[in-house]
């Protein structure tokens, strides 16, 4: 089946040809059990395109050396590739300058970094940190640890039955004790896109800084941290069509300057004696030890790739695909979608009457369709909707309406087995 979504959009008015995109992802050519692989677990991690794979092998084949230390040419080239990728990430998020981008292992480490530096420095007894009921565990546990250590309170903004953030509740929680608001930009289990600009406005009106978890948002929509006016923004490379083990934290320079270092070691210092160490400047202060250089370079290639396709094309393709999939799934007897906010993207969480999500996952897997089942690292969301688990199909730029049809067919097989 070919739909408008598959052929009308592209970078700079060019045609967006999903088959041309798919051809760049070698893994999609796999045929598990003789059937085409239908990969619908993009919210967990996205597949990697040739430009990223080639950059990784080229880096190791031609440019590998440690960075920021050698006087020889190869080390300089590795340093240039590494710092060049920082500039690319800064441009991707529209940070004011590359120095506002700190490389981390993933989004989780970005959040922990802020909790352990900014948080430990500024949060004291009886202070409050505000999160929401739709956070990934990685935006819950670091704050619980911090609050436990400091005797502070974790406040949780509730969500509505459709999975929307209750902004009024958030507004009423903000006060002189609030030290940080940390909210997901786009939910990984519901698909909800939060009104994060409004969240920042409300928080800033009370002088409260805001961290946004952009793990999901950053590969589905353009992010402009200056327009959002957020204080921190975290992304994770493996969901940006990039390598695993690499992520980035955007932090406003004024905060990064004021924050203590995260880990101690090489690269994060400017001089060390046994009496006194002075720290390197931002962002190197937060990047102790030899970083994941190849990962950073690969991540740079990943954001280049996304920009070469263009968000206008990606957003439009995924919007049409989500609409198609929503209609198709709603027509499946006994299926209930969890997460129906008007502002949502690319995530279809659902439960099937009388069949546990885990069984749904196993059966559709035998039909070549990879979806996620479980709590998606958001156990409080499962509790909020009184379900033990959901099945979740999540879309990326390379998915097609044909694949949605295959999911629907696979769900019919679930019915055949379970009656």
């Amino acid at each position: 089946m070919t739909s408008r979504a598959e052929n009308d959009f592209g970078p700079d008015g060019e045609v967006f040809d999903v088959e041309r995109i798919r051809a760049l992802f070698p893994i999609l050519a796999q045929r598990p059990g003789g059937q085409p692989l239908v990969y619908l677990d993009n919210a967990a991690t996205t597949q990697k395109p040739l430009p990223v794979l080639n950059t990784l092998s080229r880096y190791y084949a031609n440019e590998n050396a440690n960075i920021h230390r050698g006087v020889y040419g190869l080390s300089q080239r590795a340093t240039d590739a590494y710092e060049g990728a920082r500039a690319k990430m800064a441009r991707f998020l529209n940070a004011a300058e590359p120095a506002e981008v700190v490389f981390t292992r993933n989004a989780t480490e970005g959040i922990n970094l802020v909790a352990q530096t900014f948080g430990r420095q500024r949060v004291t007894a009886d202070d409050e940190v505000v999160i929401s009921a739709m956070e990934h565990h990685s935006n819950i546990v670091p704050w619980q640890l911090l609050c436990e250590e400091k005797g502070a309170q974790l406040r949780v903004v509730p969500i509505s039955d459709s999975g929307e953030l209750m902004l009024d509740e958030l507004a009423s929680m903000l006060g002189p004790r609030t030290k940080l608001v940390s909210i997901v930009h786009m939910s990984n289990s519901l698909g909800t896109i939060n009104p994060v600009r409004r969240v920042v406005e409300l928080a800033h009106a009370q002088g409260v800084p805001v961290l946004l978890d952009g793990s999901q948002a950053a590969y589905h929509m353009p992010v402009d941290v200056q327009a959002l006016e957020c204080d921190f923004y975290v992304v994770t490379g493996h969901k940006l069509y990039g390598p695993t083990g690499i992520g980035a934290l955007y932090g406003r320079r004024s905060w990064l300057e004021a924050m203590p270092p995260y880990q101690g070691g090489g690269d994060m210092i400017s001089s060390v004696t046994f009496e006194r160490t002075t720290y390197n400047e931002v962002p190197h202060k937060f990047e102790a030890g030899t970083p994941h250089i190849a990962g950073v370079v690969g991540l740079g290639a990943a954001v280049d790739f996304i920009e070469s396709v263009g968000f206008s094309a990606i957003v439009e393709h995924e919007r049409q695909l989500l609409a198609y999939a929503t209609t198709a799934l709603e027509a499946v007897p006994g299926l209930r979608l969890i997460g129906t906010a008007p502002e949502k993207a690319s995530i279809l969480s659902f439960v099937l009457d009388g069949v546990h999500a885990h069984d749904v996952g196993t059966v559709v897997d035998t039909q070549g369709v990879a979806i996620r089942t479980g709590h998606h690292c958001t156990q409080p969301v499962m509790e909020r909707f009184s379900v033990p688990a959901t099945a979740r199909a999540s879309l990326a730029m390379y998915n097609t309406t044909t694949e949605i049809d295959q999911l629907v067919t696979a769900l019919a097989t679930v019915r055949e087995v379970f009656g």
């Binding site: 069949v355 546990h356 999500a357 885990h358 069984d359 196993t362 059966v363 035998t366 089942t373 479980g374 709590h375 499962m382 033990p388 688990a389 097989t413 055949e416 087995v417 379970f418 009656g419």
Partner: protein, 148 residues
Amino acid sequence: MSDLRDLYQEVILDHNRNPRNFGPLEDAGLRADGHNPLCGDKLSIAVNVVDGVVTDLRFEGSGCAISKASASLMTESIKGRTLDEARKLFDRFHQLVTDRSAPPDEELGKLAVFAGVRDYPARVKCAILAWHTLRAAVDDNQDVVSTE
């Protein structure tokens, strides 16, 4: 479909739909809770043991077809057995669902329907949860059993 039927055998589907020994056991002497955080399976097992013999056991909770049917069939095959026999059966069942080279085992009786699980490594935890929980109950282990 055919390999699916190896996993979801009719007996398993039946026990999933109509679990046996399902519900509370008010005067139970031993209890334990089991949790499989990966898929959200949660079950509690309540047991009475008299002179080393399991005289009654029931289970409650929610879970996937494999974990529910496994709990249901386990209660059927354990009732009336000695604790020693129950432990041996646990080991045999464990081998059945994890060891691809295990020969057919007559002693397992109906439990042999779970042989298909060994081809689905992600589902082994579902099949084994009830058994771990039972073991915790009879060993009087108060912690929640987790398959993680």
